[in-house]
């Protein structure tokens, strides 16, 4: 602000300003605003909690189509399910599926990300192609792979010259074949996530190491891997949780068979709730699956937290 000099120094007249006041809002609205703003969140939480609580409640009843007026049976459903060899078979199938699929996807995904990290035209083309499996719904992927696996006319037997007798969905092969479909769909997800991590890394440590004569594998093991470890763990958490809840393409390809070799926990829950209309037993399956997912998630998230702190230099 400038002042005009007229022979004597004049103190600028202070401008008296009205203090900033919020627009006139009724008190009740000011008090209600936080509650109104939280309504969407509350609705979402209620939408999550209601089915969860209801499902948990059903698991202590004997509710089914043939018993539409159920009564409280305590932990009978849990004791029946936990003493059923089919349930433990499903637990085994689910865990094998989750561990194998996640491991293979991680190894392949990191490998692909490392290859794509080298800028080239082919690399850019692959980046675009890579995302295609993620755009296919798992149910559709199941149908596509079902046709490709068909021994009579499937392209896979034809390419590998396996004739019309090699069955990819036989008792010995079915679990590995459905895992292969999972790998096909979700390896790109891992690759893209890890690639994003690699590209966010600072260049200086790598340049310094290169000047010091460090080899590629040494730099990968000692520099890159520790720094992208949080990204890898995020991918592990996503994929492992998803695999524990796997249903879609497995059901399309095998419906849980032959016998029970691909009967995952989700398929067990579906059979009980939807096919057999035994809602309480299905809810029990779902509750037990939730416990498994919850415990695993808690563990993995705590590991991720440690890795992030370590990557940030907070922990040795």
């Amino acid at each position: 602000m400038s002042t005009t000099v007229t022979g004597r120094t004049q103190e600028p007249t202070p401008v008296k300003r009205e203090p900033d006041r919020p627009p006139s809002v009724p008190t009740w609205r000011r008090k209600a605003r936080p509650y109104l703003l939280s309504i969407p969140a509350v609705l979402i939480i209620a939408g999550i909690l209601y089915p969860f609580i209801l499902g948990s409640y059903y698991s202590v009843l004997n509710y089914s189509a043939i018993n539409p007026l159920p009564s409280f049976v305590g932990f009978d459903n849990f004791s029946r399910v936990l003493s059923d060899s089919r349930f433990w078979g499903s637990v085994r199938v689910t865990l094998v599926y989750a561990v194998v699929a996640t491991t293979v996807e991680m190894v392949l995904g990191i490998g692909i990300a490392l290859l794509l990290n080298r800028a080239s035209r082919i690399g850019k083309l692959f980046e675009r192609v890579l995302i295609l499996p993620l755009m296919v719904a798992p149910v559709i992927a199941g149908v596509i792979w079902g046709l490709m696996y068909n021994p009579q006319f499937g392209v896979i037997n034809h390419i590998f010259g396996l004739g019309s007798t090699f069955n990819w969905l036989s008792t010995d092969m079915a679990l590995w074949s459905v895992i292969l479909v999972d790998v096909w769909i979700f390896t790109p997800f891992v690759a893209i996530l890890v690639l994003a991590g690699i590209r966010s890394l600072p260049k200086e440590p790598f340049e310094a190491s290169e000047v010091d004569g460090a080899g590629w594998f040494y730099m990968f093991r000692r520099l890159m891997l520790p720094m992208i470890w949080p990204y890898i763990l995020v991918a592990v958490i996503f994929r492992f949780m998803d695999c524990l809840k796997i249903f879609d393409h497995v059901y399309v390809l095998t419906a849980g068979g032959p016998g029970a070799v691909t009967r995952t926990l989700q398929i067990g829950a579906y059979e009980d709730s939807i096919i057999n209309l035994n809602y309480s037993q299905g809810s029990t399956y779902m509750f037990l699956l939730w416990v498994l997912v919850f415990i695993t998630a808690r563990y993995l998230v705590s590991v991720l937290g440690k890795a992030q702190r370590r990557a940030a230099g907070a922990e040795g």
Binding site: A65, P68, S164
Partner: protein, 456 residues
């Protein structure tokens, strides 16, 4: 969480009025409210919703729905759901008791599960009420095995044919053998008359190096694997699923006859069946028959029928039908599947719904549907003898086969409300035996578990 999680959670949640809220056992039967003379226009101006799955029966009727509207003044909104999801949707809707769809397609076995909770309207009072049912309807014209198939009293051990009429048969299928007649003629062979000959014939026709095999039948992990060819031949060989002991059912799929037959059936699948048998459902079977990969197909006659229509498949015009192997005593016991029309007990438009069911299962509309060209097995004898023979029944052996088995065609299962659970377990046992499990001990386990389940 995927489809399963969502569905599993939804089923009970949809009965959201509380636990057991989906039951409609206290629903009043609507037939009592209809009085006066019969008139097709008694519910004029109403609109009903029907739930269907895409199927030749539904496709034949779709163009005729306008005729129904002209006749009755009732609008029909038809909703289609693919067969793979159809019963999931129906289960959840009925469990929810919403009454959204007034009429729906239903298989007979589903009456055993959907009936006891009170989800289905008993149609007997409607049939018996002359104010609601036209004199020309002639319910007895529907084949007896079919009328019995959808009538049950829900009492354990009680045979079909007593109790309420829970659905009206609309289209149906007998399970017989369709075969590649051109190939049979070229080789100078005929279909087998006994099961042992049938096995040998199927094995002789198999040449894996030529990607050709003898016989296709279902093998997927589903109750639907048991009910067509398997149950038909199982019954012809003299085996039964359960024996009735007072008010208890005792599983008998481990009897000597049953074990012997099961071993042969699985051996047949291994030696002369599709190499991915454990995933086979009926579209796979009919496809392989139609493209010349399978030489025979033991499944629903009306499912194989479309493959022989000009241009429908590679082998169109080359197919023929045979009743399949007779039992040791010459019997042709054949299991049936019927797509029926049922009324939702929670419907708010029961008269309009009944008029639709009555029209769709009546002589005139069914004859028109047959003339549309895809309604292979009408449920009425008069329609079969009339419109069907006039327009569709010229495929080799089709009529003869139908007439040979029709009197022995009925539901060969013992009715019980845990049908889907126990019959899927049965399919799983077949797959286990196919994968190398000992047939006797596996079927012993199955029988013990099934006895527990059905009596619990």
């Amino acid at each position: 969480m995927g489809i399963a999680g969502g569905s599993a959670a939804l089923a009970p949640i949809l009965s959201a009025c509380g636990v057991g809220g989906g039951t409609t056992t206290d629903q009043e039967n609507g037939a009592e409210e209809v009085s006066g003379g019969f008139d097709w226009r008694k519910a004029e101006g109403e609109s009903i919703k029907i739930l269907q799955t895409p199927h030749p029966y539904q496709q034949s009727f779709q163009p005729l729905l306008e005729e129904f509207t002209e006749l009755t003044g009732i609008d029909v909104v038809a909703e289609l759901v693919p067969e793979a999801d159809y019963f999931t949707k129906l289960n959840t809707e009925l469990a929810g008791g919403s009454g959204e769809h007034d009429v729906f397609m239903l298989g007979a076995y589903f009456v055993w599960t959907y009936g006891p909770p009170g989800w289905l309207e008993d149609l007997s009072p409607w049939l018996e009420n002359s104010s609601a049912t036209s004199d020309e309807y002639d319910f007895e014209d529907i084949y007896e095995g079919l009328r019995m198939a959808t009538r049950w009293d829900f009492e354990k051990g009680s045979p079909l044919g007593s109790g309420g009429q829970w659905a009206i048969p609309w289209g149906f299928e007998t399970n017989v053998v369709a075969y590649n007649k051109a190939e049979f003629d070229r080789r100078g062979i005929k279909p087998a008359e006994t099961f042992d000959d049938f096995m040998q014939l199927a094995i002789d026709l198999t040449d894996r190096s030529e990607n050709r095999y003898g016989v296709t039948f279902r093998g997927s992990r589903s109750w639907a694997t048991i009910h067509p060819g398997f149950m038909s031949q199982f019954s012809r060989e003299g085996a039964v699923d359960y024996e009735v002991n007072g008010t208890e059912l005792v599983a008998a799929m481990n009897s000597e006859t049953a074990v012997d037959f099961t071993k042969k059936w699985v051996e047949l699948a291994k030696e002369a069946g599709p190499t991915s048998w454990t995933t086979y459902e009926y579209p796979d079977c009919t496809r392989d028959l139609g493209n010349g990969t399978a030489m025979m197909c033991y499944d629903a006659d009306s499912a194989t029928y479309p493959q022989n229509k000009p241009g429908a498949s590679q082998e169109a015009g080359n197919l023929a039908w045979h009743p399949g192997p007779a039992g040791p005593d010459g019997n042709y016991a054949t299991n049936l599947w019927t797509w029926s029309l049922a009324m939702n007990a929670a419907s708010q438009k029961k008269l309009a719904a009944w008029l639709f069911i009555q029209w769709a299962t009546g002589k005139e509309a069914m004859s028109d549907a047959v003339r549309e060209g895809a309604f292979a097995d009408p449920t009425r004898q008069s329609v079969f003898d009339g419109a069907f023979k006039e327009t569709l029944g010229d495929f080799p052996g089709y009529l003869e086969t139908f007439e040979t088995v029709i009197d022995s065609t009925s539901i060969q299962f013992t009715p019980q409300s845990r049908f889907f659970e126990t019959t899927e377990d049965w399919a799983v046992a077949l797959q286990d035996i196919y994968s190398g499990a000992d047939a006797k001990s596996r079927l012993d386990d199955l029988a013990a578990a099934s006895t527990d389940i059905v009596n619990s």
